[in-house]
Amino acid sequence: MSEKPVNHRAWFMVLPVVALVAFSAVLPLMTVVNYSVQDTFGNNQFFWAGTDWFEQILSDPRIHNAFLRQILFSGIVLIIQVPLGVYIALHMPKKGVWASVCLILMALPLLIPWNVVGTIWQIFGRVDIGLLGKTLASLGIDYNYTQNPIDAWVTIIVMDVWHWTSLVALLAYAGLRSIPDAYYQAAKIDQASRWAVFRYIELPKMKGVLLIAILLRFMDSFMIYTEPFVVTGGGPGNSTTLLSIDLVKMAIGQFDLGPAAAFSIVYFLIILLLSWVFYTVMTAEDAKEAKQ
């Protein structure tokens, strides 16, 4: 490739974007930073607190537990949704009317607002009036998401799988559709098994979109708030209190602005860090091959 011309005046072109981002992201974030290092008792009076809030947050068992629950939730969600999404994509019709029908049906859950999804499942699972809850009860299965932590977990995971597997499936489907027919024909000629076709043709070609899917699903599930909040409200007890639910409890329920602000920043950094780790690990192989 030829050498690119260097012109530092080009930075001026970026200025409008910088200004916009400053207003929409940097300034609000700075307010949070401001809260996280000060204490206030109202009346707009602030006292310097240094790193006290951070130390408190990082050593708080309540937050440790919420963090572990969050990791568990994201982990389970990824482990179910990614293979399931790929499986669905592999079995969707490739063309014709049914392909369109499938695409629309798959896209529907993605179009439903979070709190509506929460409400749907909240009612769906109720033992007294919900279709799911009542059916399970009449089958003799003791299911009650408001009383039993396991049932609550199963409910919010199934709900998230229902809501978001489509995203993985649609992305994987797009990846699959971009594979030329010649690859499948060559595989038939080479007498490759179904597994070999998946392993050596489909999976490598889907890698790019799957990487995006995993990243998106990780970030979204790690930040999830509305749906579990509507269904379980973090309960029973604290069993489904994920990080964001805990954060809202702390900030708005208890009005502990300082610790909540420190919590927000740590939360943000964790997502940033984990996303970076994910991305780096998953693209490392590409980079290695590119060097060859």
Binding site: P180, A182, Y183, Q185, A186, D190, Q191, Y200
Partner: protein
């Protein structure tokens, strides 16, 4: 290895074909002899690839049967047919190394160990990639990838046939020659039945024992390169093969004389009364430029090195002549056609005629 029989085979991509134009491949009955090298020659869109994909089982024909030896394979899957095929554009398994790519068809058939390893290395040497066996396939250039595709096609020794679908399109000219020579060598060595699809006549004529010429979904002639050159069965073969192609001139044929617009030509065979559009065809190589015969008008002379191509007109109709390198162009040019080299066509198809009795004898 087996003889491949096509019986009443036809294919249409439409669900209910009616007129002949609906067929991508018109009815064909043919036997591909075991161990022969065939070329399937024709312009783009003539049904070559369709025919190839039917033989390999990627496509199920809408009519007719295919037999490998005595076994009917019409409804058999590609994998069961044990056939190798190389496609026009390179297909490699990106995540595998060159070695793994070449070994893949063997591994899928459960072949491992030193014999398989030796085979892979032999093929790698043949395609000139033995020093890059451990490299990942994805970073390679298009022609390196196509060489791997070729290698994968040739690596199995027990295949019923090897099919090539314009495999050298993306290869650079120098390598083309070399690979084609190697394919021939491979054919001589192992005796696989090979069917080679191409639209390049040089490729077809140098590769094959027998050339199958197709146009518009129809096989118009199957013959040796010499037969195609000397006695094209169809006017299409006449002008598609040869450079320049055969001259075709409208004529009326009576017995053993053909009357053209510019004069009369004696034929070595006698013909019955012909109906339809009658033409005589004569290759530029068999047209002699001199001071006798039919008067022509010279339009242009192209010197292509070994000989000259004279673009002339006979009574307003284009007539190409191949003249020797040093030949002089006469001031009042006239042409004669070599006796025996004039073919007669009715509605495009060759009319055999009966050899004329020697008048002198």
């Amino acid at each position: 290895m087996a003889r491949i029989t096509l019986s009443g085979l036809a294919h249409s991509y439409l669900p209910r074909p009616k007129v002949p134009q609906d067929y991508a491949l018109k009815r064909i009955d043919h036997e591909w002899e075991d161990g022969a090298a065939y070329a399937l020659l024709g312009p783009s869109g003539c049904g070559k690839t369709t025919l190839l994909n039917i033989i390999s089982g990627l496509l199920r024909p809408s009519e007719g049967r295919i037999l490998f030896g005595a076994t009917d394979v019409t409804d058999m899957a590609t994998a069961e047919r044990n056939i190798a095929q190389v496609f026009q554009f390179p297909v490699v398994y990106d995540t595998m190394t060159v070695y793994e790519n070449l070994a893949f068809p063997l591994r899928n058939r459960g072949l491992k160990g030193p014999a398989a390893d030796a085979r892979v290395r032999e093929i790698a040497r043949m395609i000139g990639m033995e020093d890059r066996l451990d490299q990942k396939a994805r970073g390679l250039t298009a022609d390196a990838k196509q060489k791997i595709s070729l290698g994968r096609g040739m690596v199995r020794e027990d295949v019923n046939a090897i099919l090539f679908d314009e495999p050298l399109t993306v290869i650079d000219p120098h390598m083309k020659w070399e690979l084609r020579t190697q394919l021939k060598a491979l054919h001589r060595q192992f005796g696989h039945t090979m069917i080679y699809v191409t639209h390049d006549q040089t490729e077809a004529l140098t590769f094959a024992d027998k050339v199958v010429v197709m146009t518009e979904g129809e096989v118009v002639q199957i013959g040796t390169p010499a037969e195609l050159f000397e006695r094209p069965a169809h006017t299409f073969v006449g002008y598609f093969i040869g450079s320049p192609g055969m001259n075709l001139l409208p004529a009326t044929v009576e017995g053993s004389r053909a009357r053209l617009e510019g004069g009369e030509v004696a034929l070595t065979r006698a013909y019955p009364a012909l109906s339809g559009q009658v033409e005589i065809g004569v290759r530029p190589e068999f047209v002699r430029l001199g001071s006798e015969g039919l008067p022509v008008e010279i339009r242009r002379v192209e010197d292509v090195g070994r000989h000259k191509i004279v673009r002339a007109a006979l009574a307003g109709r284009a007539l190409d002549i191949v003249a020797p390198e040093g030949a002089a162009i006469p001031a009042e040019p006239r042409v004669r056609f070599e006796p025996g080299a004039v073919n007669v066509y009715a509605d495009g198809w060759l009319v055999e005629g009966t050899p004329r009795e020697r008048e002198a004898a």
